[in-house]
């Protein structure tokens, strides 16, 4: 459990020597509590205090990171149950599964296609994070061959799926030096051997159980063997069971600082609906069976949305954006600086092939309707943005187009911007090309 500033202060030397850069030990303690400084800045803190503080400052959900040549995917380190309480930090890794009984060509084709996959969402390039190789063959050699195939087709992190230690061992040996994979996984009968393998190969290890008590038992035993990078799998196909398991595990870790369940959760959702739930409800690694762009794209977008910091909506720089080389006859289109709004509008204008000046007003990162409701996108602000630019000298005729949702502002804007022809555009960005072609 995180300590308060006062509790930390009691563990410090209390000499106010100032060597940490703060005027008093109490001030330093407050900064420590806010996680704004490192304890190492204090030269005199005792070993005993260091140990106590380290334990208390360990994250309630361990950060587990899977690494391979140039790639890393992290899960854990979460601090809240609801995103509005602070934010969700580490986006769950999206892994695509292949099975070692598929033909080598099929395995390679699936992995290559998913590895190459990139989709652009509001200017961010989204990709899948890695692959899970499942041993259905029961044959260590076949599994090892599949792992090698995966490594030829992609350098992204891997999850090795089998309960049989001899198969996992063969798979681990087929990996490249220096990478850390995730073994899936350990259960009541195999955990000891699996823990030894994880230790030897510096791999992370998932424990599999439908009930939380068994999961907690297993992580404790495995930690006792020196393996700390663990994940827990609720081992269920039911939505209700997964939701309950994940919620309780997260609560135990955050509210009770219960270390045996303080690990990222790995799920193998049975379909898109289950994968949707996994992303919003606490999974750290999500393994999907199929690679279908019509599923992967919305999953990646959902992940991006849920893991957006609620305090900081993604904004774009306010100002004038030139699209398709506008000349003096091009219209001035007005929108807000919320990134999703900006990208929707900019993409449509660009796609239309018609030139325009896009005036992005500072609406504190809100969408058109939200900003308007909050009083951050009104005629006065729009007029100020237009006047603050040099558009008046650049365009003729002077035409400014309002988003259809704020048609109500047109009268006021006419008063604020004498000499401008105020038009009302469509409500939705998707209708902009038609508007540019037909109405202007």
């Amino acid at each position: 459990m995180a300590l308060s500033g006062i509790q930390i202060y009691k563990l410090l030397p209390q000499t106010n020597c100032k060597e940490c850069g703060f005027p008093t030990c109490l001030a330093f303690a407050m900064k420590l509590a806010a996680k704004q400084v490192e304890l190492s800045a204090c030269p005199y803190v005792t070993e005993e205090s260091i140990a106590l503080l380290a334990e208390s400052s360990a994250p309630p959900i361990r950060l587990v990171s899977l690494k391979s040549d140039g790639y890393e995917t992290k899960a854990g380190n979460e601090v809240v149950l609801f995103r509005h309480e602070k934010t969700f930090y580490n986006k769950p890794g999206l892994f695509v599964k292949v099975v070692d009984t598929e033909s080598p060509e099929a395995i390679k084709a699936k992995i290559s296609a998913a590895d190459r996959y990139v989709v652009n969402y509001v200017g961010i390039e989204l990709t899948v994070d890695g692959f899970a190789i499942e041993a259905a063959s029961g044959d260590p050699e076949k599994f090892s061959a599949a792992v090698k195939l995966a490594r030829e087709a992609s350098k992204r992190p891997l999850i090795l799926v089998s309960r049989d230690p001899s198969i996992i061992s063969a798979g681990l040996k087929a990996l490249e030096a220096g990478e850390s994979a995730l073994i899936h996984g350990a259960d009541k009968s195999n955990w000891e051997v699996m823990a030894a393998l994880a230790q030897e190969h510096k791999a992370a290890l998932a424990v599999i159980s439908t009930d939380l008590e068994t999961s907690a038992d297993l992580t404790e035993k495995i930690r006792g063997k020196g393996v700390e990078d663990l994940a827990i799998d609720p081992d269920t196909t039911g939505l209700g069971a997964m939701l309950t398991f994940n919620t309780i595990a997260r609560r135990m870790a955050l509210k009770k600082n219960f270390k045996p369940l303080g690990f990222p959760i790995i799920v193998f959702p049975k379909d898109l609906v289950a994968a949707t739930q996994a992303i919003s409800k606490y999974a750290g690694f999500v393994v999907i069976d199929d690679f279908k762009p019509d599923e992967v794209y919305p999953l990646l977008v959902l992940r991006q949305n849920i893991y957006t910091d609620p305090q900081k909506p993604i904004q774009v720089q306010p100002g004038v954006y030139e699209i398709n080389n506008p000349n003096s006859e091009a219209p001035v289109l007005v929108t807000t600086n919320f990134s999703i709004t900006y990208f929707s509008v900019a993409n449509e204008v660009e796609g239309s092939g018609l030139p325009a000046w896009l005036m992005v007003c500072d609406a504190e990162g809100m969408s058109v309707l939200t900003a308007w409701a909050a009083g951050k996108f009104d005629a006065e602000r729009i007029a100020k943005s237009v006047k603050g630019s040099d558009l008046a000298s650049k365009v003729s005729p002077k035409r400014v187009v309002l988003p259809g949702h704020v048609a109500v502002l047109s009268g006021e804007l006419e008063e604020e911007l004498p000499g401008w022809d105020v038009r009302v555009g469509p409500r939705e960005a998707v209708d902009i090309p038609k508007f540019l072609k037909e109405a202007l």
Binding site: R251, P260, T370
Partner: protein, 326 residues
């Protein structure tokens, strides 16, 4: 290792709201929908009661819509010009309720008249016994004109009337009170604005068990995270005992998802978007599932396949999991 599960003990609960009245209750509905009543966060069966399952309504229009995705038009092509047949088709594919949206103009481009609106609503009520939610076109003056006429002509049916916003709530609340209907109160993605509207409505004397709130949402990729968190915050506030947030929530993932480019446009989009129809259905389904888990009680959808998937998810989530330690 024995685990003591941390259970949240909530002092508050969500109000129960009934949509639709049967013959015995003064209406003509053959089924009712009861939503709300829960005493815990969504699907946390181990710490509270969830007496009523969330429901799915399908949206239909009073005439062929001008701006719907061609995919939807194709899906409903056989019934799209006949609201009564459309309602019947929606019932046949498994909807729990019908949500009828009235248009601003008729198919000839003339302003929609109250008489036409009433005739349409009556035809829909005749064709399907499901509870009915009626939304106006979304312009407050026209909404008032049409919805008052509809409310009076259907007295006792316990329709849900919307969209009731801060601009026009008075008229719609008054007619709902006079004619025994329910209202849906919409506020723009903000906890305090939602509360404020509920207070205004309650001050007019409409009992809160006849109010459903629509906190507004965005589609996946288009601001869903705002609506999602507002819903979670509203539900937490309700359970903590804030009376003015203790209302069931209605959201319109169908409307939101189907206006996105991902659903509307099939050509000239990136290849990485995948198959158009699948993508569009996935967009609607995923928007709905995320909102369902944030506390939605009524989800209004447009496509029968999304309806099927969301209904299956609700059934799964309403079964209390048989977990040893729970």
């Amino acid at each position: 290792m024995p685990i003591e599960i941390p259970k949240d003990k909530w002092p508050g609960s969500v109000r129960q709201v009934v949509l639709g009245a049967t013959a015995a209750e003064g209406g003509t509905r053959t089924s009712k929908v009861v939503v709300g009543g829960e005493t815990c966060m969504p699907f946390m069966h181990f710490e509270g009661a969830i007496p009523n399952r969330p429901v799915v309504a399908l949206e239909i229009r009073d005439r062929r819509p001008d701006d719907w995705s061609p995919l939807l038009v194709k899906t409903w092509e056989n019934v799209i010009d006949d609201p009564a047949a459309w309602a019947k088709a929606a019932e046949e594919v498994g909807a729990d309720a019908i949500q009828l949206t009235l248009s601003l103009t008729d198919s000839a481009g003339q302003p929609m008249s109250p008489e036409t609106a009433v005739a349409t609503v009556k035809a829909v009520l005749q064709a399907s016994g499901l509870p009915l939610i009626v939304f106006g076109p979304g312009q407050s003056e026209v909404d008032n004109l049409l919805l008052v006429a509809v409310a009076e002509a259907t007295k006792g049916e316990r329709l849900a009337l919307g969209i009731c916003e801060d601009k026009n709530y008075r008229t719609i609340v008054a007619t709902a009170m006079a004619n025994d209907h329910v209202i849906t109160a919409r506020s723009p993605m903000d906890v305090n604005l939602a509360k404020q509207l509920n207070i205004l409505i309650s001050d007019m004397g409409l009992p809160l068990d006849r109010v459903i709130m629509d906190p507004t949402t965005g589609a996946l990729g288009y601001g869903i995270e705002y609506g999602y968190s507002v819903m979670e915050r509203l539900r937490l506030a309700a359970l903590q005992g804030d009376a003015m947030t203790q209302l069931p929530m209605l959201v319109t993932p169908g409307y939101e998802a189907w206006k996105t480019k991902e659903s509307k446009v099939g050509e000239g989009v990136p290849e990485s978007w995948g198959d158009w129809l699948q993508r569009a259905i996935n967009w609607e389904t995923m928007t709905a599932i995320a909102l369902l888990e944030a506390g939605a009680n009524i989800l209004v959808l447009r496509h029968p396949e999304s309806l099927k998937q969301v209904e299956a998810a609700i059934q799964d989530l309403m079964t209390a999991p048989d977990m040893v330690s729970v």
